[in-house]
């Protein structure tokens, strides 16, 4: 009996030590701070920069919409015949898993803003069954979208007229935490990768600040 208790307590210790932590992507720097007269090292992580785009309802949306929320970002375009349909099918599963959870948001950015106007995005979102409270479809200035994709989310969104649909894009689903730090990038065209995304969102939901 005593042995059993010791084994159980060891197991608890291991479980506590092995708390599943997701990596934090991007650069980091250490700044020294003075707290209560003591010098303390504080790590500053890279975070997604501020942004402002228009959503499928024609509303201006900025970073405040994801304040204190975990969110998934992706880059797509409505007329894409290659990877986007698969990405959207997989992302819809993630959305349905966390539907109505006020801590989770979805941010889909078009990389073809000339075609994907507010009304086109509105129609696309409603056909997909996405609620604009939780799933934003964003359009705006092409340069700003590409800049955010490349430097904010580490996705590649480079115009290439030779590719089907006229664009090359990464197919990545990017997981961002409540402090706007990238915590994972998943291949949105692969079902197992999106299952991992669902698990990792759950991990983030339980992460202590």
């Amino acid at each position: 009996m005593k042995n059993k208790i010791s084994i159980l307590s060891l197991l608890f210790v291991f479980m506590a030590c092995g708390e599943n932590k997701l990596p934090i992507y991007g650069d980091r720097k250490v700044e020294m701070k003075t707290i209560d007269g003591k010098q303390v090292a504080d790590t500053i992580y890279q975070s997604v920069p501020d942004f402002e785009f228009t959503n499928q309802d024609g509303k201006l949306i900025n970073q405040n919409i994801v304040k204190d929320k975990i969110y998934v970002a992706d880059f797509f375009f409505v007329t894409c015949p290659t990877i986007c349909p698969r990405m959207k099918k997989n992302l819809l599963k993630v959305y349905e898993t966390f539907k109505d959870n006020p801590e989770i948001m979805f941010m889909s950015h078009t990389i073809d803003p000339e075609h994907d106007s507010v009304s086109v995005l509105h129609d696309f979102a409603s056909r997909l069954g996405a609620d604009s409270k939780q799933w934003q479809f964003l359009t705006g200035d092409r340069e700003k979208i590409y800049e955010l994709a490349e430097h904010g989310y580490y996705a590649t969104a480079i115009a290439d007229s030779l590719e089907p649909g006229g664009y090359v894009h990464s197919g990545g689903l990017i997981l961002v935490d409540k402090k706007r730090r990238v915590r994972g990038v998943y291949d949105g065209t692969v079902e197992s990768a999106t299952s991992q995304l669902i698990l990792d969102i759950t991990t983030l939901l339980h992460e202590k600040e």
């Binding site: 409505v78 007329t79 015949p81 290659t82 990877i83 349909p85 698969r86 959207k88 099918k89 819809l92 129609d123 696309f124 056909r127 997909l128 069954g129 089907p164 649909g165």
Partner: protein, 125 residues
């Protein structure tokens, strides 16, 4: 007697030819079906899915699609030239543009059409 033997031989030769032609036709039709499947998976399944079920209200189903059953000759042209505008398939309206496929040869499109008709539109479905 000789005449009979000759007739039997002739029948045998004819029968063998018939069998080998049928085998060849079967092999050719199997090859076409495989090619149709391979092309469908590469060119069509992203949107219309491997099982032809389509995806939500964005990409119409092909499986038992009344639109295609009622317009059996339309499929070739839709694949070749694409399609814009709204259509109703099995009671649901779809309006996303289908892109043209200028890189596919007519023969390749024929194989896709054959695959779609056999797999998704035959009465056994």
């Amino acid at each position: 007697m000789k005449k009979n033997k000759f007739l039997v031989l002739l029948c045998f030769v004819f029968y063998s030819l018939l069998i080998s032609c049928a085998d060849e036709n079967q092999a050719q039709s199997r090859a076409n079906a495989n090619h149709g499947l391979e092309l469908y998976e590469r060119m069509c399944a992203n949107c219309h899915q491997s099982d032809g079920s389509g995806f939500v209200k964005l990409y119409p189903p092909l499986k038992n699609a009344d639109f295609l059953k009622n317009n059996p000759k339309a499929l070739f042209g839709i694949i070749k030239y694409g399609m814009i505008g709204s259509i109703v398939v099995n009671g649901i309206e779809f309006n996303l543009a289908m892109p043209a496929n200028p890189k596919l040869s007519d023969k390749e499109i024929d194989h896709i059409v054959e695959y779609v008709q056999t797999r998704f539109l035959s009465n056994s479905n």
